[in-house]
């Protein structure tokens, strides 16, 4: 596996790159269609029949605020066009039948690889979160409750854990809104610390899509919006996943 990883790293280095270009991945022909519509991306991303465990469901560790808001948005999935995104242990489960393009796909994959925000699986100890996505408005809401294993300053969530949560919501939103695949940049302004065990609501908007890049922003605040925890903006690279060829 390690040898294959190095092979992947070497092939990255050998891609044609313009000197001084900030992005190492080759540019696509701008006229090539990012044709997968949001609806088709969502339907592939949220399969009706799931044999994998969905971690974005209420459990005993969720605080009352989180449960209430979850119920509120669950109602909105029936009436206002919101969709609850499933959350699996690995990103590979989200993109079954697809793979990373341009030889970036790593052939061997251990079953115990986990997505960063599902790294701590004991209920309530790590990341407890659920993401609701609105396809036509290209925005998301994430309900996030950091557990005691995400501590930084005593009693408060580690800045990095919030950064990881924001990057994760960005990456799901960017993918469904426009096939954004890799984070190019993140700019986070921290305003206040999030107490461990409390609810933070992340409101995410796709600002614009141009030049093979997706510009996306987020505000993390308390439920009553009285306390802003952080503001973040990010840029994602648009890349289409490839169909896995049957062998």
């Amino acid at each position: 596996m390690i040898r294959r990883t190095f092979q992947v790293a070497m092939s990255l280095g050998s891609h044609r790159v313009l000197p001084g270009a900030p992005c190492v991945l080759p540019r696509l022909n701008p006229t090539s269609a990012f044709g997968s519509s949001t609806d088709s991306l969502v339907s592939r991303f949220c399969p009706e029949k799931m044999d994998m465990k969905d971690y974005a469901l209420p459990n005993a560790s969720w605080c009352p605020d989180m449960l209430n808001l979850y119920q509120e948005f669950l109602e909105k999935t029936k009436t206002d066009g919101w969709i609850k995104l499933p959350s699996f242990k690995s990103n590979r489960d989200h993109i079954q039948g697809l793979k990373l393009p341009f030889g970036l796909a790593v052939a061997s994959d251990k079953n115990d690889w986990r997505i960063c925000t599902r790294c701590i699986q004991e209920e309530g100890q790590g990341y407890e979160y659920v993401i609701f996505f609105h396809p036509s408005e290209k925005k998301s809401i994430c309900l996030f409750q950091p557990g005691p294993y995400l501590e930084g300053a005593p009693g408060f969530a580690h800045g990095g854990s919030l950064a990881a949560m924001m990057d994760e919501v960005f990456s799901k939103t960017a993918y469904l809104a426009g096939e954004g695949l890799f984070t190019l940049s993140l700019n986070i302004r921290f305003k206040n610390l999030i107490p461990v065990g409390s609810l933070a609501v992340l409101n995410v908007d796709v600002e614009k899509i141009e030049d093979q890049k997706l510009y996306i922003s987020c505000i993390a605040q308390s439920r009553d919006q009285q306390r802003v925890y952080a503001k973040c903006s990010g840029v994602f690279l648009q890349l289409q996943l490839e169909e896995e060829s049957s062998q």
Binding site: I95, V106, C116, T117, E151, H158, G160, S161, E168, F182
Partner: protein, 207 residues
């Protein structure tokens, strides 16, 4: 228990780098920084030295543990930091494990952000005492393969009153590949230091 020491999950590259920096530490120019899961564990050990008969009230000890140190060996963040006092910079050697995946086969952007925040935070802590990250700006140049080893070089760029401006870059072991660059602004919280001094000691000794 100091978690920034080699364990069986460390790859050959990681051990090599660690040994190189430990060698540099022999003449005192570099210093290895210890790292604990629970900031209070160090305090508990200090208490035991002076009060060997003291019985700890377990319920009062925080269940909480420092985020990057909450994984079994090799599964999450494996890292060690070294500080050069004369050059005022900190180097972190980092091996990201299989529980930090983003795109399949690569490290999650948020895991990279966590390590950048930890490294810059440590640099700021040494330079300015108790600090809080105000702003973090990261440019990702290349995806980092999962389970590979990278070197994070960080430094203080300037100090303006209570604000510290820092920057860092993430490179491959041979320094040929640049994975990310980041800048950060940290705020010194001196009023916290004076009013909550027992926590400040935890900050100084815990990473």
């Amino acid at each position: 228990m100091d978690l920034s020491l080699p364990n069986p999950s460390w790859s050959k590259d990681m051990r090599l780098l660690f040994d190189q920096f430990m060698k540099k530490s022999e003449d005192g120019s570099w210093k290895h920084l210890p790292s604990y899961k629970n900031k209070f564990s160090r305090r508990i050990e200090d208490i035991k030295v002076f009060f060997p008969d003291a019985k700890l009230i377990k319920e009062k000890i925080s269940q909480a543990q420092l985020f990057p140190r909450n994984f079994e060996e090799g599964l999450g963040f494996e890292y060690a930091m070294f500080h050069n006092h004369a050059e005022d910079r900190t180097v972190c050697i980092f091996q990201g494990g299989p529980y930090l995946q983003g795109a399949p086969g690569f490290l999650h952007g948020g895991a990279i952000a966590t390590m950048i925040d930890s490294t810059l935070g440590m640099t700021a802590l040494i330079a300015g005492g108790i600090v809080m990250t105000a702003n973090l700006n990261i440019n990702f140049k290349r995806p980092i393969p999962l389970c590979s080893v990278v070197v994070i070089n960080s430094q203080v760029d300037k100090v303006e009153g209570r604000k510290l401006f820092l920057s860092c870059n993430i490179r491959s072991v041979d320094e040929q590949t640049l994975y990310s660059e980041a800048t950060s602004k940290n705020l010194c919280l001196f009023w916290v230091w004076f009013s909550l001094s027992y926590i400040s000691l935890g900050f100084v000794f815990g990473v």
